[in-house]
Amino acid sequence: MQPNDPILTLRDVQVHFPIKSGILKRTSGHVRAVDGVDLDVYRGEVLGLVGESGCGKTTLGKAILQLVRATNGTVTYQGDGGETELTTLDDAGLFAFRKRLQIVFQDPHSSLNPAFTIFGSLEDPLRHYGVKTRKERRKIVGDLLEAVNMRRESMDRYPHEFSGGQRQRIGIARALSIQPELVVCDEAVSALDVSIQAQVLQLLMDLKREKNLTYVFITHDLSVTEFLCDRIAVMYLGKIVELCDAEELYSNTLHPYTEALLSAIPVADLDRKSQRIVLEGDVPSPVNPPSGCPFHPRCRYAQPVCRTDVPQLRRYRGKSGQHLAACHLIDHPLAD
């Protein structure tokens, strides 16, 4: 991993969904799903995006792929052909670009069309991106299925004939079919049983090595990210509250939310039992986020300043010198 080689740069990305109400469908407010995110994704890394439901992690993933258009901010892709600003691309421009960015969806049961054979689902991207003959496509699809440890012959069967783990592997094969550079995995293993989850995780890691991929791995499971990711961004109510190396996040947790999140995870190790920090209440609504620090109503360290001022992401030394956290109460930030 080269730390100074970003493949994707997000600056102040906001995704606000309008809420329409009344017979005139006037906009009465906004859901601030993603509310000002700055993020660099480095070439060849696995970046984890973690947070609870409703924190905006999936929306951010979709905003990267332009499946949801950002209402503000820039998403810049740095490929071989120089920089491309994705947010201003029109449909034709995006179509050409989608080749580089792919996504693996969460639910393997709804992301494959039940009326298509596996070959039908997998040949589509190939046809659109220039593999002309059917014979060639069949060969590529067969190779792809073998790459995800499935039999070539599976391509003529229908999705309902496969188990959840197999379908997820087909989803991965589809995402990889046109040789993308960056793959967004949106809760790619969450719907799977534990023994199958390990198979898919290993497959993802092997493919990354072979094909030199970059992953943005969206999940709510911090035990998976620790195993898989190089860096982790923790999100809360549409904002990144902490971002650093995976190892650093677990050994030198700075943000109180990350601390509570980590302590709440049941650990399958009797010798590592830690004290649970139980957060009061639920995640506030992103329609009406609290003033100041979005986490302050649930934070056990909250001070008056947290209620009034929004904390910015600041840089801390940590082990790598690249530890970012957004909290008023952490001392000694580094000057930028």
């Binding site: 049983d193 195993f227 677990y250 650990v267």
Partner: protein, 338 residues
Amino acid sequence: MEMGNDVALSVRNLKTYIYTNNRCNRALDGVSFEIRQGKTLCIVGESGCGKSVTAASIMQLLPTLSRIEDGEITYHGPDGPVRIDALERDGAKMRAIRGKEIAMIFQDPMTALNPVYSIGFQIKEMLRYHTSLGRKDRHSKAIDLLRSMGIPLPERRVDEYPHLYSGGMRQRAMIAIAMSCNPRILIADEPTTALDVTIQAQIFELMDTLKRENGTAIMLITHDMGVVAELADDVAVMYMGNIVEAGPVGKVLRKPVHPYTRALLDSIPVLGRGKDQEIKAIPGQTPDPYNRPTGCQFADRCAYRVSACDEMPPETMVADDHRVMCWRYQEFMADAAE
């Protein structure tokens, strides 16, 4: 907690079969365990292993096309033992036990609550059938229950409908319903799977308190080894309708004997072990429940398979509180002791 006789429910050699299209799924194929007063038994396993069918058998809430073929479920109530499996599913006796003595929390709070009745109504319904409380007492008891579950503004919330509650609050409302008659046994079927970890921590805290303060016996069904390590006193590992290993949580998690328990523990990333930890996937997948192997159900995926595995291994006690179903347990015992 009663001394000496603290078994709240015992299940012996339970066989529950489910029928479809002339085919038979032997969902439970000889399952035995006990739930003790003031203790938590965790039943852990992958989807399709029969954990939910076990809960449904105890509650007599099995689907119509299924039957308890053999075995016994005995509830050790205050009036002596009752054979639950012999009771009529909808009979007065079963209805008196279900909800009052043995209560259940379901997996999905979004669908388990009735959307057209207020939360308060659904709690009071339990009190109306199972207690002699009057109308006003029921109302105030419902408010007390919601308050003890940590629902803010219970006086107002009691009249609200489920859609106004968040996921965590709905699950707490369900626990309130389950706890309304002070049941002696609480069966929780994946109570936190649909919830975020911070909300999950709140629910666990609540269940721990119930166990400590009321001596409730808890049977918790989960697929998450982390939850087991966190909450269980005893653990039973299920695979395809059998309990393959059971014992106190310390023994089963620290010195697992059955190859499936070991493989399961090796296949999950554990928080705090860093990036270098090795996870080993279990090869293959669970067999078709309608077309099971004749012998050990795990044999096809097991790295230690021998010819003896073509026959079903017996349940063997390897210590007075630790049992396992595997032909080669002695070898695994020896290297667990190392």
